[in-house]
């Protein structure tokens, strides 16, 4: 039993949902109690998806446990098939259903549906979300390529991009950017999967010359299997940062013995010049703490150290599956990697490292905020803000542009704070001055107080006012005072407060 206040990854069936939700023609029947349907909102709220995830939950209750949950499961599968007519059906159990051992795979197969049924066995008490995604993708690919008939491959190099999912950190834009880069380099993209793919697309995966493991947490297992099964080589170099992107292109060039030098001279990122411009000098050696999924943590550490000139003082991940890679990367910076899924450990490590910048997940953003350290988010778990409306990839040369902004702007704000601090006693920059970006109108705190107040608050009304949430309290105070002035009330009582509230809501 492990005491957990918060978790970086969900249970493995959430990973399976990320695969099912991003694909076409796939439906997932999940044997699960009511309540597990909360997972839908991750997709509809955080990622703002405009359709429900293609998931049917059996939502069994206590009264079903006494009866026959297996029959309930079969009924759910049959009804889901009738209603949604998927081309492939995934079936599995969440943590509770795993305990009642109904064998969803066997039950679903017994229905003899005219479509492939892929049973998922995801050990909920042992593994987590990324494992679930990886395993589900692997099982699906295996099922879909089962009847693969080899074709004559094209003469132009072709690849599959493997790994992007629903709820993935910047996956939407990374795919666009990497696809653009590959096509410009002369490599055609056969299939992108799982995001946007149909089971019939998965069946075509072996047509390509090689695979790109865009997100190893999701796609490495599948790529290794495809290599073994079909002799398809894979590139497991993540194109994050200028160096990462160049290495990615070089790895592909090497595979086909092409010279990439001309291409790489023509294609570049503004990061290269921006980082050399003297304005960036102040970034030199700034201590930075990095935590996230293994791939993003390792790649961002490289960008921070080699491309922005920061000093990496902390590097860690919650992805235990990739601890080895993160430990190896940490050695490059003469530090010990932090492998943990307890955010309190991360918080303690950040405090000890005392960095000038934290690059992490949304949780590290909050830790940094508490500690007063500038921060940027570079990894899942995702938050609604990690799905920006604008194009904002992390990968490729455009991704490097995004990274320059993302990784330096918080520092500039920090610099601004620093300068304000230096000039604190200056007549223009005194401690009560508002934030500079609000201009000189930001300091009329006094101006407002200066208007003669005709009404005073009695103690009870004042206490009541304090119970109003802070973000509307100011408005409530102003409205009440305006109302009091207007009605020639000199002492604001509780009744005045509510009279004013009713008056202004009319």
């Amino acid at each position: 039993m492990q005491l957990s206040f918060w978790t970086y990854e969900g249970p493995p069936h959430i990973g399976a949902m990320r695969i099912a939700t991003c694909m076409q023609g796939v439906h997932y029947v999940l044997h699960a109690p009511q309540g597990d349907t909360y997972a839908d909102l991750l997709f509809t709220m955080i990622e703002r998806r405009d359709v429900r995830p293609p998931v049917t939950y059996t939502t069994f209750q206590a009264r079903d446990l006494g009866g026959d949950t297996a029959t309930l499961f079969k009924k759910s599968v049959a009804e889901a098939y009738e209603r949604f007519k998927p081309d492939v059906l995934l079936v599995g159990a969440s943590c509770t259903a795993e305990l009642i051992q109904d064998d969803p795979g066997g039950l679903a197969l017994a229905l003899n549906l005219p479509i492939p049924v892929v049973p998922l066995e995801l050990p909920s008490y042992q593994r987590k979300e990324n494992y679930g995604a990886s395993e589900t993708f692997y099982r699906l690919v295996r099922a879909c390529v089962a009847d693969y008939k080899p074709i004559n491959k094209s003469t132009q190099p072709s690849c599959n991009i493997l790994g992007p999912t629903a709820l993935g950190f910047r996956h939407r834009d990374d795919v666009v950017e990497v696809k653009r880069l590959l096509e410009k380099f002369g490599v055609s993209v056969n299939v992108v999967a799982p995001a946007g793919a149909h089971p019939s697309d998965l069946a075509r995966i072996p047509d390509a010359h090689f695979n790109i493991v865009l997100y190893p947490e999701v796609a490495l297992t599948t790529a290794i299997w495809l290599e073994r099964q079909f002799g398809q080589k894979f590139v497991n170099v993540t194109p994050i940062g200028v160096g990462g992107t160049r290495d990615f292109i070089k790895a592909i060039a090497e595979m086909f013995q092409i010279d990439a030098a001309d291409f790489l001279r023509a294609e570049t990122s503004r990061l290269v010049w921006y980082s050399r411009s003297i304005d960036s000098t102040y970034l030199t050696g700034k201590p930075v703490f990095i935590f996230g999924d293994a791939t993003h943590a390792v790649c961002i550490a490289r960008v921070a150290a080699e491309e922005l000139g920061y000093q990496v003082v902390g590097l860690g991940t919650y992805s235990r599956e990739f601890a080895r890679e993160v430990r190896a990367a940490a050695k490059l910076y003469d530090i010990e990697a932090l492998i943990t899924d307890d955010y309190l450990d991360v918080e303690a490590a950040i405090k000890t490292a005392n960095p000038a910048l934290v690059l992490g997940t949304q949780m590290e953003r909050h830790i940094a905020k508490r500690l007063g350290i500038p921060c940027a988010v570079i990894s899942a778990p995702v938050h609604v803000q990690d799905f920006p409306a604008r194009y904002s990839p992390f990968m490729g040369f455009e991704g490097a542009n995004t990274l320059f902004d993302t990784l330096t702007h918080p520092m500039m704000m920090g610099l601004e704070e620093h300068l304000l601090g230096m000039f604190r006693e200056d007549f223009e920059f005194h401690g009560d001055a508002g934030a500079s970006h609000l201009g000189h109108t930001a300091s009329p705190v006094q101006a407002e107080d200066a208007t003669p107040l005709s009404a005073t608050w009695d103690a009870e009304a004042e206490r009541e006012l304090r119970k109003i949430p802070f973000f509307v309290r100011g408005k409530a105070r102003r409205n009440t005072e305006a109302y009091a002035t207007q009605n020639k009330v000199t002492l604001i009582k509780l009744e005045t407060l509510y009279d004013a509230k009713a008056y202004y809501s009319q």
């Binding site: 206040f5 909360y38 405009d50 509770t96 509510y498």
Partner: protein, 432 residues
């Protein structure tokens, strides 16, 4: 258009004997663990320890949103393989987790061990664990710390029923009243600002001996005995009601304090139960009721004549539907509720327009079909359904806000209307 819609049926005798569509398919609702999100805000020195799986932890942080980023007063003891394989005695493991927790948070006065689906399926007895821990803390001179247990599991509870289970677990521990004077207990979580408004109105009515369950602090538990009369402020408290009745307390039957009419009836029922004259009661309620009525006018413009469809969620659906139809002139397309407690809901059903289409339980895909057939102007549903319905062109109000926002009482009547009016106004404003 549905045959049972109030349009085609004359408004007569309410819904006391109305037929109810009972569904037992997929339920798109939270489990009872979710109640922790507001219960921990209400009881400020309580800690909620879920004994469950990673799914439970993930649910809580997904539902709690930003609250998780303060160090929260809730956590999960995540059961792992060793606990299941019997390699570790789950009880020893739990005791260790609790020790670690109490060491970290010594200010905690009330610890709830909250059962989950997995803990129930493996039959981990949390009531015995609570007993054992209480004995241990007593021996360690920590009598100020009490451990209780309840189940918030999805196989036992739906969303707000978690609060019911939590409050029911508190009832046997409530003190007996110090005297035989009649006292009033208000049952169900309310925001502090609502509590204070209620206290002032009770005082004006002449009822001074008022306690709230749950209270703000563990040391402020209300007393209960045969001279206790209690009023439910939330409709989902069936188990708590039964537990209070076992302690001899008597429920004051009333509609729920939502809207001007509901709030007036709620206070009037209390006044009657305490022998306060109807005239005095009317005098006290007149000013706030009139003020609240005035503040509804603006929202009536937006809401009157609009058709609303409720997916089942919090059990607040029937009282809210009653309020929206009677005070704001909305039409009820379907009112879904996860459970219908006819006894607790009797006064509400009487007020609901006759012919209202009522459904209990859920089969979400079939209900979505009905919703689309009905083409409502606004749909009240959970967060999993809201954006997909918006994308189909429906205006929605996500229901969880109804349990997080102070909506009870006179001063909040307009706020409750605003929750429904705002999405409609917004849709009218957008030109993209």
């Amino acid at each position: 258009m549905n045959e049972l819609s109030p349009l085609s049926v004359p408004v007569t005798a309410g819904c006391s004997d109305a037929p109810v569509l009972r569904e037992r398919g997929q339920r798109e609702v939270f489990c009872g663990l979710t109640g922790i999100v507001w219960l921990h805000r209400r009881i400020q020195d309580a800690f909620f320890l879920v004994v469950g799986s990673r799914t439970c932890a993930h649910l809580l942080q997904s539902a709690a949103g930003v609250m998780i980023f303060a160090e929260p007063r809730f956590a999960t003891a995540i059961i792992d393989e060793r606990d299941l394989a019997g390699l570790a005695d789950a009880n020893d493991e739990l005791d260790q987790v609790v020790s670690k927790l109490i060491e970290r948070r010594p200010e905690i006065k009330l610890l709830f061990l909250v059962g989950s689906c997995p803990s129930e399926v493996i039959k981990l007895d949390l009531s015995r664990a609570a007993l054992r821990l209480n004995q241990r803390f007593a021996a360690e001179n920590r009598r100020d710390l009490r451990v209780l247990s309840y189940s918030g599991s999805g196989i036992e509870t739906t969303f707000t029923e978690g609060e019911d289970a939590c409050l029911a677990s508190l009832v046997p521990t409530l003190p007996a009243p110090p005297s035989t004077l009649p006292n009033l207990m208000v049952v169900g979580t309310v925001a502090e600002i609502v509590e204070d408004q209620f206290l002032r109105l009770f005082a004006a009515l002449g009822i001074d001996n008022v306690g709230f369950l749950p209270p703000r602090r563990a040391a402020e538990m209300p007393s209960v005995g045969p001279n206790t009369k209690f009023l439910l402020v939330q409709p989902f408290l069936a188990e708590t009601t039964a537990a209070l009745e076992r302690r001899g307390a008597v429920r004051i039957a009333a509609p729920f304090p939502l809207g001007v009419e509901g709030t007036t009836a709620w206070f009037t029922a209390a006044a009657r139960a305490f022998g306060i004259s109807a005239q005095h009661c009317a005098n006290v309620l007149e000013t706030p009721a009139a003020r609240a009525r005035d503040s509804l006018a603006r929202h009536r413009v937006t809401l009157a004549g609009r058709k609303i469809f409720f997916f089942p969620d919090s059990q607040l659906e029937i009282p809210i539907a009653r309020y929206l139809s009677r005070e704001l002139g909305m039409w009820l397309s379907e009112v879904g509720t996860p459970f219908l407690h006819r006894e607790l809901m009797a006064e509400e059903l009487e007020l609901l327009p006759a012919g209202t289409f009522l459904s209990e339980g859920q089969d979400v895909d079939r209900q979505l079909d009905r919703c689309r057939d009905n083409m409502p102007d606004i749909v009240v549903c959970g967060m999993g359904l809201a954006n997909p319905l918006e994308a189909e062109g429906y205006t929605t109000k996500w229901s969880i806000e109804l349990v997080f926002t102070p909506v009870q009482g006179f001063e909040q009547a307009a706020d409750l209307a605003e929750l429904f009016a705002r999405p409609l106004r917004r849709r009218a404003m957008l030109k993209v």
